[in-house]
Subunit: 391 residues, 2 copies
């Protein structure tokens, strides 16, 4: 009992201190649907590209988020015709073309089917156009913020196509959205049968409007644009549609002057998100956790290394478990900063053995004409005054 | 080219049909911080227990959520003194008592430390009091909705205690919240050193106010109440505090008339969330996906079985990967319903070999005096008219 009495005395003293710091306010009521604290300010940075509403992008504040799940409210956006307001009771998904039996599904019918939940990243293939062109944004949100990761839930596209019955000659599935622009992309049939999903769930609840409510495609590991939002039509065909988003956009001009089309897979990439451009470390060095994200469209990340000397030497980073295929992977590295100038960068290796290239290695193979699928190592310069800049 | 022309023709025809169904509206602008569709209605059901503000619970709509991540806006709540509004710039965490060096941490100091992100469930030990007493709620949200799961990010409590330096005799850590009631619980030191976290992140962003913003404890697999919210003090002691929440509440009256205290671990449990009480299946049978959640405070779920005949026979359910320790596990079972009366129920086995008990098995061991830690098998009665009721 005597130790208990001592505790209560000590506790009371500490409590008084705390009450001085935190004036006791009457606690608020519970809420049917919660919101974040008014003290929290992270936002997506919006760039509208034309005078028309909702054409452009908004970027995830990668330097301000934790773990591997991106909050749905901060998931990146890239729209060509704004965000449509769709009543799910009126929305349908049509499957037609080279099928035995054309089908129309209500949203409820899709929701009632056997489901799959998977954590997958999405990255816009135009992420980091500025870095590719030697004019990077000053911070990681600008340079790399067209990248997010969610737990998606939906039906396998394979099950829907099997129900419709594929006809001989079927080789492509052309997916079209119900946005004003009727955004359409052609997907090889094999990928549709392998792991593509028609999803309605994101991080436990319905898809957010800006991620395709009420239905979108998830094409694991492939460029964001092909994960068609507001999905309302799947046309099974013998040839690709050659839609504007696979001819005029999302093609890649190679050094030899020819353009590559149908470059789907997002290759292995990583970036340090803290510390990163625009941040300020306390002067004089100290121990800092260097953390960031790695991902690959080709299976799983096997290794992430961090360099603090601009790539002369690398050290293995710790990978936060679980490491999931085609999902973001959080890495961490404990850095003893000596207070001098430093260049922080990470590189990753995926399960195929592919090693993320330097900018020079990338440019030698791919050239710098294209703004798409840039995945080179991203350095951050730390000055002796603690400020962090892009290189 | 001819097949392409055919596609375009077919496409135009279908497009006309779709436009009739979905009048084209001008797409909306992007938003800095998103919200769900106005067509989406799932909410927490609030039960206020006293006339004072914010004393009671709100329950997660388990029948309406997907996957294993609970949307933060729908995470269950159980408060004893409402939700405090805390400015993180003013909030501190004090570590004192049997330590070499008492420490006060700012929230930023905790955020700057090496971090860990983990997916863990939380369950109120008073979840399903009604089922225990033979008066269950009619639906799964009422019966089981004090259950949620998030990706939490924070610092290991071990690292904080090591920095403070434990004195000989230290055996307990008494955690206190900054809510009006100064909710306090005593935690054995071993658990604090094993895997307990001081978290500030939930599903990628800051903790929500009703989950303890800006800091809370996460004590993996242990009853919700001990995961102290709005954490502002950790007192290292030789004995437990015997706080009101571990003497007058959260104790369990056994059949022999004695009460158990410090019953921390949430034992293995599962529940079918769809179909569940209050739902209606189409009359006449058909194929249905039976889905639900399983969890255990003791490591990982190894097996979930589903019965459609009230427990006479069981069939293995599919476990959605990844199966993570002390996290919710989503299970799925494809049920061919013959249209006749049926009783659906699930049972799970954890890595220790513990099998979730029936109500009778539970009552024989634990009695029914206590409303806490009830984890018996939960049956749902399906009538021939398709309606689903509690049993």
């Amino acid at each position: 009992m005597s130790s208990r009495r001592r505790f209560l005395t000590a506790g009371a003293a500490a409590l008084t201190g705390c009450q001085n710091e935190e004036p006791s306010t009457s606690g608020a009521h519970m809420r049917a649907y919660g919101e974040r604290s008014p003290h929290e300010k992270p936002v997506r940075v919006i760039r509208e590209l034309t005078a028309s509403k909702g054409t452009g992008s908004s970027r995830t504040p990668l330097h301000e988020i934790y773990g591997i799940i991106t909050p749905s409210a901060l998931h990146y956006e890239r729209h060509h015709s704004g965000v449509p307001d769709i009543d799910p009771a009126q929305h349908t998904l049509l499957i037609h073309g080279l099928v035995e039996k054309p089908l129309v599904f209500s949203v409820d019918a899709i929701r009632a089917r056997p489901a799959v939940s998977r954590v997958y990243f999405l990255e816009c293939s135009g992420n980091s156009v500025g870095d590719n062109r030697g004019a990077p944004f000053p911070d990681v949100q600008g340079s790399m913020g067209l990248l997010s990761c969610s737990e998606w839930t939906g039906a396998s596209l394979r099950s829907l196509l099997e129900e419709a019955g594929l006809k001989p000659g079927a080789k492509w599935v052309i997916a079209e959205g119900a946005d004003n622009g009727r955004m359409a992309r052609s997907i090889p049939l094999e990928k549709c049968l392998e792991d593509t999903l028609v999803v309605y769930g994101q991080n436990g609840e319905a898809l957010r409007p800006e991620q395709g409510y009420p239905l979108r495609l998830i094409v694991p590991g492939w460029e964001g644009n092909i994960n068609v939002k507001w999905l309302h039509r799947l046309h099974v065909a013998a040839e690709p549609a050659m839609s504007v988003k696979e001819t005029a956009f999302y093609t890649e001009l190679m050094p030899d002057g020819k353009a590559q089309m149908f470059t789907y897979v997002m290759e292995a990439r990583s970036v340090i998100t803290r510390p990163s451009g625009g941040m300020k470390l306390p002067v004089g060095g100290g121990i800092h956790e260097v953390t960031g994200l790695a991902w690959t469209g080709k299976g799983s990340i096997r290794r992430v290394e961090v360099s603090t000397d601009g790539g002369k030497t690398y050290h293995d980073a710790e990978l936060q478990q679980p490491v999931l295929p085609q999902a973001l992977v959080r890495f961490r590295y404990r850095w003893q900063w000596d207070g001098q100038e430093a260049v922080l960068q990470s590189r990753c290796t995926d399960e195929t053995g592919y090693l993320q290239p330097t900018h020079a290695e990338y440019a030698a193979v791919r050239g710098l004409n294209s703004g798409y699928h840039y995945n080179a190592i991203k350095p951050w310069f730390v000055r002796a005054d603690g400020s962090v800049k892009h290189v």
